[in-house]
Amino acid sequence: MRPLPSAIALLTLASIRRLLREGLVIRSLIFPVALTTGTEVVTLGVVAITVPDDQVAVPTSWTDDALGQLLATHQITLEPTSDPAGAVFNKEAKAGFDGSKVYTLGLPPELLLVESYLRSKHPESWQIEPVLREHRPQDLPGAGRLISRLVSAIYALYGVVIGAGMIARDRDDGTLAAEFLLPVPRFAIAASRWIAASLVLCGCQIPALFLLDALISVPDLYAQMGHGAAASLTSCAIGLAAIGSSGAKSGFSARLAGALSADFALYLAGRLIPGLAPILPVASLGQASEPWLPLILAALFALGSIFQFQRVNGR
Amino acid sequence: MLAVDQLSFRVEPGEVYGLLGPNGAGKTTTLRILATLMEPDEGQVLIAGIDRRRDPIGVRERLGWVPAEAGLPERLTPREAILLFAAVQGVPRPEQRTDEMLEQLGATPYANTPCGSLSTGMKRRVVLARALIHDPPVLLLDEPTDGLDVAGRRDVLGFVSEQARLGKTVIISSHIMSEVEKVAHRLGLVAGGKMVAEGRVDELLTLANATGLDEAFLSLVDGPKA
């Protein structure tokens, strides 16, 4: 009889092979990446088209040249117009002013330049020294964190589908029955499937997060990878547990919906009880903390579902 | 892939036509084309005088389809499954008609048991009842005796004969020659997607100079034994 670890390794390789053979699985796993990068390209494209020119709108009566010289050092030009507020509203200029009023859309650095200039005319007021060159990625609102969490959540959902689908399909096409005849305990069959699904899932999730980091900067990248992996491992285990003793032809979608709801419940638990969020897999997506506890819990979830599989299918 | 090639036949009302041939001969493809489930690349199909290309719904109104696999919703009972199908087919007074069909096929005792719990024979009766719910003049049966025991096969074949006596046109496919020759008025022997020979049993036996249909088939497909 083959030693157990080598039997699990061989069964895992066979499962990975079958997973990769299903073009649908690969397409599913690449999809979130294509989706996020596609969305980013569209978003940036729209912004690139709509972004105002490097101009500050001033009234046509404006005669003070000192501001023009100050802005010119930052490659910003003055644009005389009859309606500075309108020019900013119509995205023709990044900022504008009219007497003591400064008009902006949001809080661009140009605002600080104009505001600091105007305040310098009133030395009794508090003053501004704009620090424009030190704008850094981490100053952007948590877009990277939000999107990386979304992508990891999508992978977690696939984890449920793949975890459940592998068992269901193998039961329907007879592969599972053939493997039940092998001289290995039944838990090895479940374990190999969980490992295969997890490896394939994480093998796509990690490069996806690397790509996101290269495109929008993901804060705490390695923590996000850990929490993402914990969510995927847990979801595969939940999918496996949900389908345990059934095939695809009887009530698959109901069991799948149940498994997806369990995944959602984990997420909800983290939202409702904030103390759980950093430690509970799936709920911990987006957390900056070390991912070890969620990973350990994910392994426990997996152990639970693997032994549940053995319980319902016999030794 | 060429599944059916230059195949042509005509079946009259009140006639049972057996489409015989080995697995992969093209029988199911032929029946699926007749049932409007597949589109032929070329050729013409008329069902009860209606061209399937011009009026597929008209064709479907006139035929009952009994597929090889039961295709019954496992969580519904036979009564529910047939009743819902009757509504889709536009059958008037569907409840009454459903009960009639279940009675006629002897399926009333298990009419309220979920289809998933029925035996193959029971499912076959339910499928027959479903196929006849709108009283079609043409009945297409794909391997209807597959997986049935002796009594089940006898019942189904008896039912087929009965339908022909009622004036329906019946086309039945099978790879078991001896079975269909009992009920079919005429047979079409199909191999490799082509019609090898067609006629009454005695005509085919004479043509092949054989004593049994199996022997006749092999002789017509492979040529007489040396």
Binding site: L20, V102, Y103, W126, P137, G251 | T36, L37, E74
Partner: protein, 542 residues
């Protein structure tokens, strides 16, 4: 196309009965109710809480400012605002950005000499009805998968296709069942939230049912020819929520320019209109028209294809498909990390672009090339063979060593090397070379010289590699690709080209000794494998 209402309703009733029959039938209604009721009734405003970034402060921070919520005291190198006083004792803010609350607080005691006015409209947040629309639509993805691929795999769809109804009636009936359920559930939940005073009535109510209606139509379209429940479920679960979200985000962005533009985007427009994002009837009506029309078109396309008559066949020869596919995939993999920062710059944030991680970009590109190579070769029966992963003959190593200097010369031509280009574009330093780059070379070779070359021959292999890796220097790129392809073809192995590529890029720049050591190492490796087995040399990992 015939559409008889009685038949459509009959099909819908049948679908609903099949899903809700038996004990398991309780699942879907239970999930719908379990998710929609809390979403409709829970009394919180934080359904869409986007956390504000904390303001990092340093220096002589005034006491009042320190008490502001959402602030954090830090050191001067990382702070947003560093407070000092000038020689006249006037407060000076060394600032990268000043939130309104800081400005208002500082101006409190004296009349402000400068008044800052944001002319942009207040960023509107969608109301909770958006969440109701999302839930009602997403929960139905499983039912859509059951309705078409599920029925097809259980052979029950066949009897419907052979029934006396048109395919249009069949599709419309199935759509009615699930779109109707989703629309009804969302509307009832919305009414409940209005009764409880959680949301006030408005034109958004009109757009609400159109979101599940179009989502179901889209789901049916996506799985229209699938005959496998698991595959169908994966498609529906994968694509539907994602498309809903993405179209919503895009509609939001377009709506920022003009609500009419956002509303016209199918699905996303209706989603945001249902979320009450835009004032007035016009955006709602436009969104309903656009989303409704899209749903109708999708249903028409689904009913055209639902018979599954046409076998999928390609009009293009295999080599052309590999060329186009490998070039498109390769371009996306290789150039996205450069295109991303470039787009950021175009969008006006070049400072942000320069801070993006080049190392992550290298890792991502390398890993996706590996996924592409393994994913494609896994479709064949012999992965090592599909990737040319086998020991070359000893005689191959002499040409390999000869090719390296030529490759080095060509690869040194700027900007042949993509990441060299990106490094210079965005002023990043280059400590990232190393493991990521090594994996990158390995991955490129496995993809272009392994899979593409083996699958589609030298011309496709060379052309796609040139187009993807060296579009700005086609002549030099063609030479590099040809040399590497020649090595791979000559040796019938991907190892020599992999080795030559790596050596030319890294070893020679490092030192001539390094390249010699690498060459000898390669030779020794080859001898080792050669002595073990001439034919079978695939490592057990494959």
């Amino acid at each position: 196309m015939r559409l008889r209402p009685t038949r459509v309703v009959a099909v819908a009733r049948r679908d609903l009965a099949m899903e809700t029959a038996g004990r398991k039938g309780i699942f879907l209604p239970l999930i719908l109710v379990g998710l929609l009721i809390p979403a409709a009734t829970v009394s919180t405003d934080s359904l869409f809480d986007f956390p504000k970034p904390k303001v990092r402060l340093s220096g002589d921070i005034p006491a009042a400012i320190q008490e502001l919520p959402n602030t954090e005291i830090t050191n001067s190198t990382t702070s947003h605002i560093h407070f000092t006083h000038n020689e006249n004792g006037v407060l000076v803010l060394h600032a990268r950005w000043i939130p309104d609350e800081v400005r208002t607080l500082l101006d409190k005691d004296a009349p402000a000499p400068v008044q800052v006015i944001d002319v942009g409209k207040e960023a509107q947040l969608p109301k909770r009805s958006l969440l109701l629309a999302l839930i009602a639509s997403s929960v139905l993805s499983g039912a859509v998968a059951e309705s078409l691929p599920g029925e097809r795999s259980r052979r029950t769809l066949e009897t419907l296709l052979a029934a006396a109804i048109s395919h249009g009636e069949l599709v419309a009936g199935k759509w009615l069942a699930w779109a109707g359920l989703g629309a009804m559930a969302a509307t009832v939940a919305a009414l409940l939230s209005m009764v409880l005073g959680r949301q006030s009535p408005g034109p958004w109510l009109l757009a609400l049912p159109f979101v599940p209606a179009c989502t179901v139509a889209l789901g049916m379209f996506l799985v229209r020819t699938s005959n496998d429940l698991i595959g169908g479920s994966a498609v529906a679960i994968r694509v539907l929520p994602a498309l809903l979200t993405v179209s919503g985000v895009i509609a939001w962005m377009l709506g920022g320019i003009d609500p009419t533009l956002g509303a016209l985007l199918p699905l996303g427009g209706a989603l945001l209109a249902a979320g009450g994002l835009w004032e007035g009837w016009t955006p709602v009506i436009l969104s309903v028209l656009s989303t409704g029309t899209t749903a109708a078109v999708l249903l028409a396309l689904t009913s055209r294809d639902i018979g599954g008559f046409q076998e999928s066949s390609s009009y293009f020869p295999e080599r052309l498909r590999v060329l186009v596919g490998a070039t498109a995939v390769g371009m996306a993999i290789w150039w996205m990390p450069v295109a991303g920062p470039a787009l950021w710059s175009a969008a006006g944030n070049s400072v942000f672009a320069s801070g993006l991680s080049t190392a992550s970009a290298q890792w991502a590109a390398a890993m996706f090339f590996l996924i592409a190579a393994f994913g494609m070769s896994a479709q064949t029966s012999d992965i090592p063979k599909a990737l040319s992963w086998r020991s070359p003959t000893i005689s191959t190593w002499l040409p390999t060593l000869l090719v390296i200097p030529a490759l080095h010369h060509l690869l040194a031509t700027p900007p042949l090397w993509t990441f060299d280009a990106s490094l210079r574009l965005f002023n990043a330093t280059a400590p990232q070379l190393g493991v990521a780059a090594l994996v990158g070379v390995l991955a490129q070779e496995l993809f272009f010289r392994g899979w593409v070359l083996t699958r589609a021959g030298p011309i496709v292999g060379i052309v796609s590699s040139t187009l993807v890796l060296f579009p700005t220097q086609p002549i030099a790129g063609l030479l590099v690709s040809s040399l590497l392809a020649w090595l791979a073809l000559h040796s019938r192995s991907v190892w020599p080209s992999m080795f030559a590529h790596f050596a030319a890029m890294f070893a020679i720049p490092l030192s001539p000794l390094g390249s010699t050591a690498l060459a000898l190492g390669g030779l020794a490796l080859s001898l080792f494998y050669h002595s073990k087995d001439k034919q079978v040399s695939a490592p057990s990992a494959f």
